[in-house]
């Protein structure tokens, strides 16, 4: 049975996040509760930081952070070619063990509201941050796929029996380093041809929009998508979910497992909620993370839009 390998320190998992840093990521995406606009880049950085914090949290025990995962973040668009965008103590690194990720976070104190035995109380907590918003230049998505391929080829060589790596690509536009859709599709398929003994690399694609158009998330068929060739291309590029991920999607979205025999790991025209859901489901694997209400808590407690656009320095 594929996609069944438990994730452990002896058999860690891997995530690579591909983050579009093109100029268009400067466009407004959503609003915070005060009505201030939040740009795409700021929202994505915040959501990614929360995802990393969640992954660190899943690996944290009383006596330290267990190395269940290795993480890479590739930004594309800040310069003409993609780069791993770790900063500070992790600058220049590629795949990083989660204990090192945890040890190299920037800490920001924040007052949060949390429910304790039925009463809402305020607590000061520290938020861990690694990624800053960036929106500069073009969209070399194919090059990002190639960089992920080279990185994971080496990672799989070292971890041949692990749960297959998961790649999550967040973008707001079309690649501009290819001459045709087929060229981008071929790069994506090359990436998902990589495999461990437990299955092929899983590629999730999340197209963010924020224009108010109806998002499509985790489609079972391309006919559910708008009549846009780019939507179809993203569908073709995206992996079918593992059985466990499919079960989680069906539970969270109240879908029937029997009538959803195949679900693609993608979102199109994703709004803030859809992006967070995709990140949550894409990273929820094998560590027995409870299914119930995880997405709701992720979205509702300390919601991402609470961070104002100008809180981020590019």
């Amino acid at each position: 049975m594929v996609y069944s390998q438990d994730i452990s320190r002896d058999s860690p998992g891997a995530f690579i996040f591909l983050v579009d840093q093109s100029m268009s990521m400067n466009k407004p995406f959503t609003h915070n509760p005060a009505g201030q606009p939040i740009r795409r880049a700021a929202f994505v950085a915040n959501a990614l930081n929360k995802t990393l914090e969640e992954l660190v949290g899943r690996c944290m025990r009383d006596d330290g952070v267990r190395d269940y995962f290795e993480i890479g973040i590739i930004g594309y668009g800040k310069t003409g070619r993609p780069t791993f965008c770790w900063e500070d103590g992790l600058a220049g690194r590629r795949m990083v063990r989660i204990s090192e990720v945890a040890a190299n976070a920037r800490m920001e104190e924040q007052e949060i509201e949390t429910t304790v035995r039925g009463e809402v109380v305020k607590e000061i907590v520290t938020l861990s941050r690694w990624v800053r918003p960036a929106a500069y230049d073009s969209t070399p998505m194919k090059a990002a796929f190639l960089m992920a391929h080279a990185t994971l080829e080496e990672w799989i060589y070292n971890h041949p029996t692990s749960f297959p790596p998961i790649v999550i690509n967040i973008t707001d536009g079309m690649a501009n380093d290819v001459d045709s859709d087929e060229e981008l599709l071929a790069a994506a398929r090359r990436l998902t041809t990589l495999k461990t003994t437990d299955g092929n690399v899983l590629l999730f694609n999340c197209h963010i929009e924020g224009s108010g158009q109806q998002p499509v998330i985790f489609p079972r068929s391309s006919v559910q998508l708008p009549a846009d060739p780019y939507a179809k291309l993203l569908f073709e590029m995206s992996s079918e979910l593992s059985p466990r991920q499919r079960a989680v999607v069906c539970e969270l979205f109240d879908r029937d497992l029997n009538t959803n025999p195949s679900i693609r790991g993608m979102a199109y025209n994703a709004d803030a909620v859809a992006l967070v859901k995709l990140l949550d489901i894409g990273t929820r694997q094998a560590l027995n993370a409870p299914v119930e209400a995880a997405v709701e808590s992720f979205v509702s407690e300390d919601p991402a839009p609470a961070v104002a656009d100008d809180a981020w320095a590019d």
């Binding site: 660190v56 009383d62 035995r117």
Partner: protein
Amino acid sequence: MEEGMTVSEAAPPARAAPWAIRARSVAKPKNDVFGSEGQVVVRPNEDRFRVADLDDGVVAAVSDGAGSSGLYCGAWAQTLVENLPGTPIDSRDVLDRWMGGFWKGFADDMKRQAAATPARHSKLVREGSCATLTACWLRTVDDVTNLHWIGYGDSPLCVFEWHDDQPVLTACYPKSLTQFDAAPYLLNWKDLPQEAHVHVGTATLPPRATVIIASDGIGQYLLLRFLSSLGPDAVGDGVSRGLQQELRRMMQSSESKLGETARQHTPHSNGGFAVDLAELRSALDSDETFAEMVRDWYERGLMVNDDATVIMIDVDTSPVVVEAASDEIACEAPPDPFAAPPVDTSCSDPPDEISE
């Protein structure tokens, strides 16, 4: 003997307690050893148990700290069993009031402990500390033993009555095997207990019964042993029937870990589940023999890799047993299943006293 009184109605001679209690806890067989801040750390066992004498009975509990949910779950499990009341917790409101007496002290202590590591403190504040709790209170009055129990989470409690020297399952919590495959509901100092997940029960035990409370991994093992001892075609009765049907479905089609483990179980060729219980009783003699047995079960694929805790309470209020020592007819009866090792209240620490 008073005139007209039969032998079986004779008052039994005084005895220390009408039950023998054995209990042990051991970290999972394939345990984690990892580096943290330059030190080699062995993952601690996060199960806790407690057996304590009451004025006229005993209270026993297992709490399984859920290390993957929240922080300081082993310490929380310890706090739960340490604070057990002498009277049964028999409703959600009683459970809530009871937790209300100690949760804040625990939370404040742990926040202070975590303060030096901001990310740890944040996780504790956001997620709390989680553990199961299954507890029972036993009281014997006039040779009748009453059992009250509460369960929150997936630490099982089983009651076996002895008929013709074979154990018969007459009560089981949880009621369904599938609950072992689902994420358990946990008691968290941060949350109010939920009515739907508070399970309580009472039973009047027959003269000879065995009550087992366990953490989920070894509890699953014991249930699977019992069900497989009934044979593949057994219909079962009462409590066993539903579990037997579930097991059959699981063995035929389930790709779950429990289904996979269930397929490894075959019954003893003779002696049935009584043999399994006798082996467990014997293994509970020492930490070493218990750990060895758990490791053996794990290596044979019969038990999942998990911390393992068992409290085994053999209740015997039967005056027949006492009379049998000098009764020629009784000497021909099958050996007493509780006979060896001798009556013991062995747990890691001697039973302590709870005043009501």
